[in-house]
Each structure stands twice: as C-alpha cells, then as structure tokens.
C-alpha cells in the first residue's frame, strides 16, 4: 500500500529554495509514497514564537492543524519547523498531526537507509541543533548519506556546535551570530568538502551566505537534494 504523505514545505523553502521541496517530492515518490501538497499551508509560526510573539504564533499553529490534521504523516524538510510543530504547538493548545523531519521519516517510518541515490561529490554534514536536540534525529542523516553511491562523506569537526543562525538571533545579535558562523565555516573548510549539507535550509542559508560572501566555492545543498539525486536524474548546480 502506498504511504500517503503531506509535504509541509515550510515558508522559507517554498519561497527561497523550491528545488529542495521538489527534491522531497521526487525522493518520496521514488520510494513509493504518494505526496500531496495542501496549498493552504503557510508557516508554522516559529519565527513569531521564538522572537516573543507567542500570541501571533497561535493562529498559525491553528492553521497548521486545520491544513494537515487529516493526514497520517506530514513530512517537512526542516528539523526546526518539525520541532516547532511537535514540541511547541501542543503548548499553544494544538494537537498537531504526526510531523516528521525528512531523515527520521525515511529511517523510522519507511524503514530505508539506502534510498538509491548517487551523488559524486565530497560532502560534509552539519546536523543542525533542533534536529539534534529537539527531535533527537541522531545519526540518521549520516546513515542515509553513507548509503549514497559515489558520495565521499567527511566528518565535520565540532559538528554539534551551533552555526549561529538562531532565527532573528542572526540579526538581533548579528556580531555574535557572525562569530559563531566564522568558526562553523572554519570547520567546513577544514574538511575540504565541495558541499556542506544539512536538513534545514535556514541554517544552510546562514552557512551558505557566509561561504558565498568569502567566495569559498563550497556549496550548501539540502540533504533532500542529495538523496533525490540519481545517476539517471542527477543533482545539478542550479545556483
């Protein structure tokens, strides 16, 4: 039986990184899921909640429940948005549908490690704080990457240290955020990787924005895009 999945693209990915969401669709369909994208979805309210606008985040949490409530599984290509839904929405009076970050959905629900991907590049992986500590995703993304054909995975030093994004923290405490970013970039560059990957486009936008400013040539690529890439339909550097 085909597993029916609703994709929660997240507002950031929908707006700025459509290729990540398209990759999730390709990947899940390749693995036998039927994917739906409810067009009424917008944002989980994380930015509002984390910045202190709890009341403003409530209608957004309500909207999320309304839009996705009828689905058995919701998958988001973001650890922090999935964490917001799972850990915070209940404190806002919601009973959200079962929402998964992509890697945990693949490993825990679909039970796959080898998704049949091919990605002939040297990659290092930043595990992102909310995937790691809010959701407890652990080594699942690394297990998925290890099973990707032709991929050369290099360990990121101090991988569990925060990259310094932190939502509005990145602008409210821009200097501190940048200092954290500088150390993360040093770690990334020390690996000699061509690609830095993560399960969250928000952190990748921050790390990638810094790497781009320094013209390092290291590309940020979301985990979904790597896992969606095959020999027949390879990932292309569209940006």
């Amino acid at each position: 039986m085909r597993v029916k999945v609703a994709l929660f693209a997240t507002c950031l990915t929908d707006t700025f990184f459509p290729e990540t969401a398209r990759a999730v669709v390709r990947l899940l369909e390749r693995l036998g899921c039927s994917v739906e994208f409810p067009l009424d979805q917008t944002c989980c309210g994380q930015m509002h909640f984390n910045t202190g606008y709890r009341e403003l985040s409530k209608p957004l949490a309500r909207k999320y429940t309304d839009v996705f409530g009828s689905y058995d599984y919701v998958v988001a290509p973001s650890g922090s948005c999935a964490g917001m839904v799972r850990e915070v929405h209940p404190t806002l009076g919601e009973s959200p549908p079962r929402t998964f970050e992509l890697a945990e959905f693949l490993v825990d629900v679909l039970g796959v490690i080898d998704v049949g991907a091919w990605f002939p590049h040297r990659v290092t992986y930043h595990p992102t704080c909310h995937s790691l500590r809010m959701l407890g995703v652990g080594d699942k993304p690394l297990a998925l990457l290890r099973a990707v054909k032709a991929l050369d995975l290099v360990e990121l030093p101090d991988s569990t240290h925060c990259c310094g994004f932190g939502g509005t923290f990145a602008v409210k405490n821009a200097e501190t955020s940048t200092a954290m970013l500088a150390d993360k970039m040093t770690s990334v560059l020390s690996t000699g990787a061509e690609v830095v990957s993560a399960g969250d486009n928000s952190c990748l936008m921050h790390i990638g924005g810094g790497l781009s400013r320094l013209r390092t040539g290291v590309r940020p690529v979301h985990l979904a895009e790597i896992l969606a890439s095959t020999e027949e339909d390879p990932w292309l550097a569209t940006r």
């Binding site: 693209a9 507002c11 990915t13 929908d14 707006t15 700025f16 990184f17 459509p18 290729e19 398209r22 994208f37 067009l39 009424d40 979805q41 917008t42 944002c43 309210g45 509002h48 909640f49 984390n50 910045t51 202190g52 606008y53 709890r54 403003l56 985040s57 209608p59 957004l60 909207k63 704080c129 909310h130 500590r133 809010m134 569990t160 240290h161 925060c162 310094g164 932190g166 939502g167 923290f169 990145a170 602008v171 409210k172 405490n173 821009a174 200097e175 501190t176 955020s177 940048t178 200092a179 954290m180 970013l181 936008m205 921050h206 990638g208 924005g209 810094g210 781009s212 400013r213 940006r239």
Partner: protein
C-alpha cells in the same frame, strides 16, 4: 525600593556589550581553550555514569518539591539550625541582607573578614557594602582573588577569572602581591597559598555561601576544591553564611543525588576535593557563633511565574555556560551580571523583575536557542523554553514597536495562503537586486544580515507555483 545589584549599574545591553567583547581576540582564545577543555572532561565524567538520566530526573523532582513546599521547608530549616545553636536571619532584598551582615561584623568588631566563594554574596554586592561600612572582605577562592586583585568583574559562575590566562594572572599577582612568580599554574597556586595563609590563621570572622541546606537536619553544605573553604569554615570564631532561599533540599538522603550531579557537571570530577557539612555549632570544633542569612532578592517574585520558576532549580554548576556557543564567544561580562551564560539569561532578568530595564530585557535574546544548555543541565532546566517565555514577556512590556508592527503584519500575511502568495510574488522581484544569484547588500534591518552573509536571490518561481503548474 533600591535597585537590585544582580546587574551591574551602567551595563550596556547584551548586543552592544557582546560587540565590544568580540573584538578581544585574547578573550576569545582564553575562553575557547578553557570551555573546550572542560566540555570534553564533563562529557567523560558523565559518560561513566549509567544512571545519569535518572539522577537528573531525581534532581529536577527534588528541587520542584522544594519550590512547592518552600515556606514549610524554610521554617523547618530555621528550627533545626536554631536548635543546634545557630541564628537565622531573613532578608527581603540585597540592601537588607548587606545591612544584616555588616551589623554582625560590627558586633564582632571585625574590620576584616575572609570569604569563601559565594554567588549569593556576589549577587547582593556584599563586598562593596562591607567596604563602604569599613569592613574589608578578602576573597580566598583563587579565581575570586584574581578578580579582586585585578579590580575586575567575574565572568563565570564557577571560575570567575576564566577570561584570564596564566600570563595575565601572573601579571596581576606580581603587581598586587609584590612577588616574583612564574606563569606555571602550580606556582601561581603556591603564591596564593602563601599570600592568604596568615589571613586564614588570624581573621576572626568568615563569610560563606551554601551549596545546599538540609531542611530536616539543619546541615549546611559547601563544595570546594582548594581548601580555602575549609579554612574559612573551620578556623574563625564566627561564621556568617548567606544563602538564597531556594538552596534547600528537604532531607539528608536527597544530598545523595546532588553530591553526584554537581561535581561532575561543574568541575568534571567524580567528586570535588573537599565538601564540608556543618550543623549549627559544634562545641570544640570550628566557629562557635554561626549566623545563617536567608535572602529573597527577587526569588519569591520568580516563584510566581509558572514557567520561569524552574530557574530556581539551578545548583550553580555552570555546565550550561561551558557548552554555550554564545557564552564561549562573548564571555561572561557581556551579560552584565554575576549570573552570565544561559542560566544568567533566564535568571538575571527574573531577579531584576523589571523588563522595562533595557539591559535585563536584552538577556533572553542572547541565545540562538541551540539547546546545548538544556542537554547538560543536571536539574533539567528547560532553558530554551524559559528564554522564549521571557521573550514574550519582554515583547509585551515593550508594547508597540517597529518590530511588533512588522511581526503583526507578517502574521496577518501568513494567516491566509492567498496573502502569503501575493507577498511571495512581490518579494521575488527582489531577484532583480541580485547579481550571480545572490544579494550582497540590503537596507536596514536586512543590513544586519548582509553585513556578513549573502542572501540567495528569490527564485523566479516558488515551490507552490511550480506545484500548481505541474501537479495542481
């Protein structure tokens, strides 16, 4: 009411202080080295324990029980201490506590007192108050001594001089002690030993804090490493202990949890070198006059907040500081308080109790919400949740601001997919600002981002536009 000295008068807001501190490359190096060392050692000390999570849960529950029964437990503590010959004093705030201690020193005709490291006395600014009253307080903990001799401020809960490296400490010691000393840690420790020995042997009044007070026995517990604590708790004739009202445990048995949690979380040891326990006065052994000063200073106000009160579970181990990526880069002084780091970001503003104070109000935002602090906290204080809770209170206190207007507009836009889509389409015009697929400069407040990071140009087509076209 007098201002709560838990924050230092005139401290800039966190972002401003941090910006300044980040320029100090020596500080960054010192902190990176020290926190890196202790992080690894703490992890090893904890990994050795198979029941660490169960201990954390028990620690959390015992402290929650203390907060739930605080009034009866305090009265019980008072009774047990009094029954064993101690005298208990109560202080509503810093000013009252300082006056009590000063009066006690004057009654002993002491113009000099030795002190064991204590967060409570640092919080209330006791040294300054005693000095103003003609009593000189000598800090005897090595790191506190370094801070005191350097006319400096503390930057860490456990190691107030963590921002100093060995050569800086050497310079301070040479200048203030008038001795020649190398920068070897062992030699620096020896210099402190010699410098303080005479003081220990001759000073008649000592002041300490307390790590724990056991309500049912009246026992006070102090954990330390150097032996300066034992000196102060044993040799003087009079001992004055100042402690926050939340430092209780209900029973002697409860200590079995905290004596395991605290050393491993704090100095990453199985057990700290010395732990002293005393109950009132023991004839023929140690100080024969014992005063216990219980301070509120914002704690009861904190207790009224159902989310924020968990900060009162804190046992001052400083594990959260050592793992905090923000603390590691800005150092402790940027927080403008004796309580820096993640715990400071939630405890300080609550003790201050005034979110209209811009400095205190900036502290809950001094975090990327990475959650490393919660992961290591031995009493499971959910610091990220308290941070977002306090942020909401700050936002409420500030009322209408440019930010709140923008946030309300964004929330309005997100409430309807049609409005969100229109905004997406309008925003995608920004791609005409881009060169080579990236935007390198935006007007304020976007400039806060683009000062160090590029922004990807919005794509010509959002995902939903693609979906509608291809799948809709």
């Amino acid at each position: 009411m007098a201002r709560n000295p838990v924050t230092w008068l005139g401290s800039p807001t966190f972002p401003k202080a941090a910006k300044e501190a980040l320029q100090d490359t020596q500080l960054r190096q010192n902190l990176r080295k020290a926190t890196g060392t202790i992080r690894g050692r703490r992890e090893a000390a904890v990994a050795e324990m198979t029941d660490w999570e169960q201990l954390r849960v028990a620690g959390e529950q015992i402290k929650d029980d203390v907060l739930a029964r605080l009034d009866t437990l305090l009265v019980q503590l008072e009774e047990s201490v009094t029954a064993r010959g101690g005298v208990v004093h109560w202080a509503r705030d810093a000013e009252e506590a300082n006056r009590i201690v000063l009066d006690l020193c004057r009654a002993e005709q002491a113009d000099e007192v030795v002190k064991v490291k204590s967060m409570a006395t640092a919080e209330i600014g006791l040294n300054e108050a005693l000095e103003a009253g003609g009593v000189h307080a000598i800090e005897t903990d090595l790191a506190e001594l370094i801070v005191q001799l350097g006319d400096d401020r503390p930057s860490h809960i456990l190691v107030p001089a963590i921002h100093r490296n060995r050569s800086e400490i050497r310079e301070i010691f040479q200048r203030r002690m008038g001795v020649e000393v190398s920068d070897e840690p062992a030699d620096l420790a020896e210099a402190a030993r010699v410098y303080l020995r005479e003081k220990f042997l001759t000073t008649r009044v000592a002041i300490s804090g307390a790590n724990f007070a056991v309500a049912d026995t009246g026992s006070i517990v102090v954990l330390e490493s150097e032996g300066n604590g034992r000196m102060c708790l044993t040799l003087p004739e009079t001992l004055i202990t100042v402690m926050g009202i939340e430092k209780l445990v209900p029973t002697w048995q409860d200590l079995e949890v905290f004596l395991q949690l605290l050393p491993r979380s704090s100095t990453a040891e199985r057990m700290n070198p010395y732990t002293s326990v005393w109950t009132g006065v023991t004839p023929g052994d140690g100080p024969q006059r014992f005063h216990l000063v219980l301070i509120d200073n914002g704690r009861t106000a904190t207790l009224t907040d159902s989310v924020g009160r968990q900060a009162l579970r804190c046992i001052r181990c400083s594990a959260c500081l050592n793992v905090c990526p923000v603390y590691e880069r800005t150092g402790g002084k940027s927080y403008g308080s004796v309580y820096p780091g993640p715990i400071g970001a939630i405890l300080t503003p609550q003790l201050v109790g005034d979110l209209h104070d811009p400095q205190a109000a900036s502290l809950p935002f001094a975090s990327s919400l990475c959650g490393a602090c919660f992961e290591v906290c031995p009493v499971r204080i959910d610091i990220p949740s308290v941070l977002t809770h306090l942020r909401a209170e700050v936002v409420e206190a500030k009322g209408r601001t440019a930010e709140s207007v923008a946030m309300a507009a964004a929330a309005w836009m997100f409430r309807e997919a049609s409005r969100y889509e229109k905004a997406q389409k309008a925003g995608s015009l920004a791609r005409f600002l881009a060169r080579d697929g990236k935007i390198t400069s935006l007007p304020w407040p976007g400039s806060k981002w683009t000062s160090s990071r590029d922004v990807p140009a919005p794509p010509a087509e959002s995902f939903r536009a693609w979906w509608r076209k291809n799948r809709g």
